[in-house]
Subunit: 286 residues, 2 copies
Amino acid sequence: MQAGVLVQRGSVKHSSQMDRLAINHITTRRWSLQEAIVGYAGLGVRGIGIWPDAAKAFGIVQTRQLLRQHGMLVSGYCCGNMFTARTPRTRSEQLSRNRTLIDEAAALEAQCLVCVSGGLSEGNADLASARKWALDGLSQLVPFAREAGIAIGIEPIHPMRASDLCCITTLAEANALCDALGFGTGIVVDVYHVWWDPNLACELERARGRVVGVHLSDWLRSWEESKVGCGMIGDGVIDIRTIIQAVGCMGYTGLHEVELVSPIWGALDPIYVSQKCIERYRSHCL
Amino acid sequence: MQAGVLVQRGSVKHSSQMDRLAINHITTRRWSLQEAIVGYAGLGVRGIGIWPDAAKAFGIVQTRQLLRQHGMLVSGYCCGNMFTARTPRTRSEQLSRNRTLIDEAAALEAQCLVCVSGGLSEGNADLASARKWALDGLSQLVPFAREAGIAIGIEPIHPMRASDLCCITTLAEANALCDALGFGTGIVVDVYHVWWDPNLACELERARGRVVGVHLSDWLRSWEESKVGCGMIGDGVIDIRTIIQAVGCMGYTGLHEVELVSPIWGALDPIYVSQKCIERYRSHCL
């Protein structure tokens, strides 16, 4: 509900289910941002997840123009982060950086600014304090997000990255943050990060009206494989279709972004990888 | 409460805090079981975590004799598992195997039979069904555990192993299993597997009287390091002392077992590794 007003961007142009597919640029990292926008569009993909470094290197205005030229939507600008630095000074600097990202996400008309909280900063071994700083940092960012009309998409990350990447590990924590922060905050549901959660169904129910992004990849069955990186949709054990359906029942009408963080897939030919994303989205997600 | 009667074994002989230290045999895997029993005892360690394969290879009776000769207690017999096989036939075979493990654990006067549920068996991609089979399998094992006077120690394993090792990923799930199964079931708290949990404090509170084992190691700060294996106590980010204290406040008086599943430490000289365990237990846990 709270993020509702800010989250309709991705939902307006779908003429078919396939129109909801987006691909995160990192999935085909051998492509520059320009190549990815043109390449995805050429294959009929209507959405893209964009990283700030690439957008700034090409230019925000230029990126926006190229997106419009190809009729592409931005499923997410990824990501605002580092809310958990140990010193107030560093946290203040991060707030400033994240404010800029809000403006850039707004300029790109992104569905949300994906926010990953940060983990334990150097010298800190107290998750509770990191979680408090994440709440503090997000609360300071919210007014700017509201003003810019951009939803903050809080993304819980798998507990295996609690130390070095993100202290927000479950949908329950993301829901609690939304409870506390109100309008302008939402949740990004990445199936790779939440599939294991015994509370998945009830926390998705609690996230009704809050989901501002859905990320897709797969969890490979063996630990030896899965610790290398995400798997392609359909190669692993996640019941992706059911999660997509559950999120849809909770009111999500936006894009479904394939975000495949994998050194193996990232090294392959981007056209081949993009085509595989399209094929697997059709066969395993619709 | 429910496991209380079965769980006092480890608690009777402590004359000092250091007497509560145990080391799991896997921590010094270059040693045979005989070498480990003699080696730990020689260094003043009073407890050992034992694996069935090693105990059977040496002989259960011989193991028991050697333990008595050296005044060693068994912190856990590890582990009963594979409750989640996909076919009823295989699950029935596993029950038979786990019944044998109960008897062996009783013969060794172990503090508990550590039970790891199993993950998604081949051909299954439905965690909910795996969790149901875990409940079913444990419920069938409980009467034998009660009869033998051995606590079933349900060990939640880190969510990163939900697919291939253990579908029971949180203390909340272990507590729910104990709620359902009653007397004779308990919980093994492994700090490596539960440290990230935002509900850690409240679920430990809920586990009052149920803890039948505590496993110690550390989570290394960087993902690149931590995915290789557990870290030595004190080398990572877990506030181990606080967790030990919390478990103590909930009535746990048993052994604290260093279980360091690490190819790096496992390759080192067992005496060096054992001494390091003792030193770090003293400096970081008491």
